[in-house]
Subunit: 207 residues, 2 copies
């Protein structure tokens, strides 16, 4: 099954929204509720669910708990959630401490850096020297890593990660990393996001 | 002209790539060079340029400096680049100090927070109490803001920003903010990005 990234992103959003609705006391939801909460159409929700064999239940709605469980299963969150961060500068440190990851069962287990001042092997989430990166990945069976190193270090860090067993990378460096059949990469270019905003804001002002 | 977000994202990437090629000593480039550097096809590059009236010059290539200037003009970078960050926790602080923004002429001019411990009006990029947010936006003619507050504060912060004159928002809170005709919003859901990675890595492992 060749699944488009957008549908997975939506499934993750459905799941996060359901967890919120649950805190409001919801036990049942309808596709309309889920659709409204993330800004898509109800038919989109039902279509996405049908792709993964989640039975449509338009009249009676869905049971919130069952749906969360189902989505977690599809998203594989019950299987793997140990993640490392390579680059323990400001952004890397912010991600290591990111509350929302912790709340959601996404465990950042270690950070890595080349700067001796940033290394702290005794903190709750230890920061190791980058020369321990490969061994750590292998011995802890890590498959997902976040890259927040400067551009000129990104490729070499990436190569170490991949040859050691990493299969998925969230890349914040402005260096283009390309997905392949063996490795999935989500690139987040913060500068580009801001530049597109600047463009649109200027366009709005001209109108 | 109704311009799709993806093309703007690509223009920004072209521009960043050209600046890199310039540091390598390039004076001229061909659409193939630009295409390779960001992972698209040469015809995509030429098509994007033609949308904005940048003349095709297949044989002789493009002059790097002129092309950067042209792209900056389109992206509006020469007009506006003062940006505020609302929420000075770990992520907000990391963005305030983000090197790449500074290098690219994107100026974070102030941060805002509700926590008195985070307020520091005398640092190079001052952090003000959130009750100064509205006045600051108005008196400094700010149009773009980054939101890194917790989910439960996002909507109220957003409302203050919009009524004070903000036209573009980069939103990191897991709260859904919707673009309208008056305001452009780029949402970055870090948790969702990681969850989609987890899904794909599990899918790869099953193959």
């Amino acid at each position: 099954m060749n699944i488009n990234k957008n549908i997975i992103i939506r499934l993750s959003k459905y799941k996060n929204s359901l967890k919120k609705l649950k805190t409001f006391g919801f036990k049942k939801v309808f596709s309309d509720n889920i659709a409204d909460s993330i800004g898509v159409t109800p038919s989109q929700v039902r279509k996405d669910f049908s792709v993964f064999g989640i039975p449509g239940n338009k009249k009676g709605g869905y049971t919130v708990d069952e749906l969360i469980e189902e989505l977690n299963k599809i998203l594989g969150k019950n299987e793997i959630n140990k993640i490392i961060v390579v680059g323990a500068g400001n952004l890397g440190t912010a991600l290591i401490k990111y509350e929302i990851f912790r709340k959601e069962g996404i465990k950042i287990v270690a950070g890595f850096d080349i700067d001796p001042d940033r290394i702290d092997e005794n903190s709750p989430i230890p920061i190791f020297h980058i020369n321990k990166l490969s061994d750590f990945i292998k011995s802890n069976d890590i498959h997902i890593g976040i890259i927040t190193v400067p551009e000129n270090a990104a490729q070499s860090v990436f190569d170490i990660m991949i040859t050691s067993g990493i299969k998925g990378v969230l890349n914040f460096s402005p260096f283009l990393l390309k997905s392949s059949e063996e490795v999935v990469i989500n690139n987040i270019y913060l500068q580009t996001e801001l530049e597109s905003l600047i463009y649109y804001v200027n366009a709005l002002k001209r109108n």
